[in-house]
Symmetry: C3
Subunit: 313 residues, 3 copies
């Protein structure tokens, strides 16, 4: 069996197909832990993980915090507004200080692409990218792929449509990297401003009409409309977006009977997705959340060199 | 012995007398734990409690957090300003996400009456109401009753005066529910605007002059003047309030020698209560805080199905 | 061997030379714990430490939090903006409430000098001063002395220069107290407005030109320029400060080859210290951070009466 050779997880684009599968298999083992009455394993006991979020995200922070607790690690939460960054200290100096406090793992959410890599080169601690600007959000990509594989039994040859603001989406980039590496057939769907043709160089198709994929795709992954990161000139009006790209009831009725409906959350009911469609049986949005915990346990375990191979219970 | 049949604690009005006594007896067992050198028991090890506070309250949050830690549960803190609610996600979706993360218990503080019940109906996790608008604050009511019973040996027939802003007080509602169920003789005291006659339907007396109860009551429970929730038209001036309803030194001198002086805190010294009176021997304000920890341990233990009956040390 | 007789750590000025050495020796024992794979010891298991920060400081808070976790204590974080203080409750009442919740240790950061002592007199819990106004920051002072002693083998007779805003610095006061007690030869360096002659009464020298110490000092400890606490009338322009008192490359070249360069952090690169000088081999700034963890473990252990003498691994 192969060995995990990365102290950091910065981008899914860095991983081979074999490494991606190793992370997914480890996550499957940990998923069993979450279903037991006693959800803790001692794998990272005595190790310290710092949740260092310079950009707020309660959901991702909480998921990493729970993942670390279940591995028996100690967890410190740091937010930018509370941190020394507000006193003018640089990201590098803050991170060096965290390492000097014997932090074993730093989970970084930051608005700048490349911030995690910047730290990974300078620190001995494991750096886990929890989203760096519009670059990558590798644990989100892994949990999406994990969910597709668990539900549909394979990734190779799977038709996956990713719909919405691809241009500014780190979730899309991580999905594209992992899905293409594992042989999926990926189509990016959205207006020309948000899904430029240049993305084709990543080995994906581009579609500007949702009708091109709605009846044939195996998976439809709807990206969140993130007003924060979008500049007005790229974006049609909200009503126009819904009418062209929202997963309405009418469109959901045209999806294949076993098509997976996915969304990284938090969902805007009535925008990217109709509220009833979000709750229907083909929707695996909440299972993605549950799988995120298993995936993050796996990533922390692999990167921090946890002792003992996890086995399913 | 009876069995605890509730996955949630939403309101003391939902509990029978037998259930109230069961919670109080369980709290008494846990109070012993807080007095030991080693304050932890493994009852909820591996379980996860989320402190989900959409309305800030450091005191109640801290009390629940310590209670969970002493039961060896893992604790996650989420505040509204930090949470996805600020991105427009609904309470229900946020809670569904917490459940998808395998949270066993969600402690909810929310400004809307009925918010805890709303979640309890939709989630399998235990929901503990830590205050929902002006509706109920059941663990506060339980700790108040616990303190009266511990100090005075009984609840039945006890004369209890609750003074202040009854109309907007969830603390008052929880106290009224438990005290009347257990046979206490409750009088609500305050100006007509804050203590309307309609409250009599709950089986309590209403008094608009503190003189009506000051010399005969066994317990005087002073509610905090909460400027946040009070509309000006209901409330006399602060000076007028103190002169009519504040527990001044002169009034305290007229209380029975063994009358309990209670307050849910934080106290406004010199407003609801004279500063010296707050610190005198009949005041059990700090013991209420200590008892709150035991009561919350009991509630978490009962609702989350902790293993093993706690025994006093 | 001597016995630790303090429930609190309020100021290094309160400690005898023997007590200072006892704290430093205990820290040395705990430093070994931080270098082991399993960094936790059960010394404070079941005890609760509250990080009560009325003035924000992520670095100091995090260091105390990690120290407590490594001693297996439970940790609660409270910040002023989140706490009841914002509802008008007094410091004393908030602290009494923390004690009523069976908190064993309260770590207090507060903008008022004497705030820790105020609490220590009124509470049975151990109070650890994490910085009180411009008075003292005893764990910072201890970690500075620990670092000097570890690196240079002694304190007695050591020439130590403290440079910058002495007048408003609690770090300077704690350093002065410990260093003079242990026999170091301390010189305070800065403009006359920030280093008044009156400091000589503490048994130190005063210098208004950095040239007076640059070639002979064994340690140069650069204080952070803290705009928050400085009034304009005391302070020259920033450029003027750098030209007169900053540790530039040119000045660093004149330091002794084994001179220790210290800074309590966070550093302002290019202000108190040139960026390259901060990273050179004589700089022990990050080691100070690591030592802070060991020192805080020692202080928590000694004050909270941890069981069992720690031994190096």
């Amino acid at each position: 069996m192969s060995h995990w050779n990365h102290k950091d997880l910065l981008a899914l684009g860095d991983l081979t197909a074999e490494e991606l599968l190793m992370a997914l298999d480890t996550a499957r083992a940990f998923k069993g832990v979450g279903e037991r009455a006693l959800k803790k394993v001692p794998a990272l006991r005595g190790k310290t993980m710092v949740n260092f979020f310079v950009e707020p995200s309660t959901r991702t922070r909480t998921s990493f915090e729970l993942a670390a607790m279940r591995l028996s690690a100690d967890v410190i939460n740091m937010e930018a507004t509370a941190s020394s960054l507000t006193k003018g200290e640089s990201l590098k100096d803050t991170a060096l200080n965290l390492e000097a406090l014997h932090s074993d793992i730093i989970v970084l959410r930051h608005c700048s692409a490349g911030s995690s890599e910047f730290l990974a080169r300078r620190l001995q601690a494991s750096i886990i990218n929890a989203g760096d600007g519009a670059h990558e959000h590798p644990t989100q990509g892994l949990l999406d792929v994990f969910t597709m594989r668990e539900k549909l039994g394979r990734i190779e040859g799977l038709k996956v449509a990713i719909v919405g603001d691809i241009l500014f989406s780190r979730v899309a980039r991580s999905n594209i990297a992992a899905l293409t590496r594992l042989g999926a057939d990926v189509t990016l769907v959205g207006p020309t401003t948000l899904v430029p043709e240049v993305f084709k160089k990543f080995g994906v198709r581009v579609a500007h009409h949702i009708d091109e994929i709605i009846e044939t795709t195996d998976v439809i992954n709807l990206l969140r409309i993130q007003h924060e990161r979008q500049r007005k000139e790229y974006f049609p009006g909200l009503g126009e977006y819904v009418s062209l790209f929202g997963l309405t009831k009418a469109r959901a009725a045209r999806l294949k009977p076993d098509c997976l409906i996915m969304h990284p959350g938090p969902i805007n009911r009535g925008v990217e997705i109709d509220s009833d469609v979000a709750d229907e049986s083909r929707s695996v949005i909440l299972e993605q959340v549950t799988n995120g915990l298993a995936v993050r346990m796996a990533v922390l375990y692999l990167c921090a060199g946890g002792s003992g191979i996890p086995t399913t219970s």
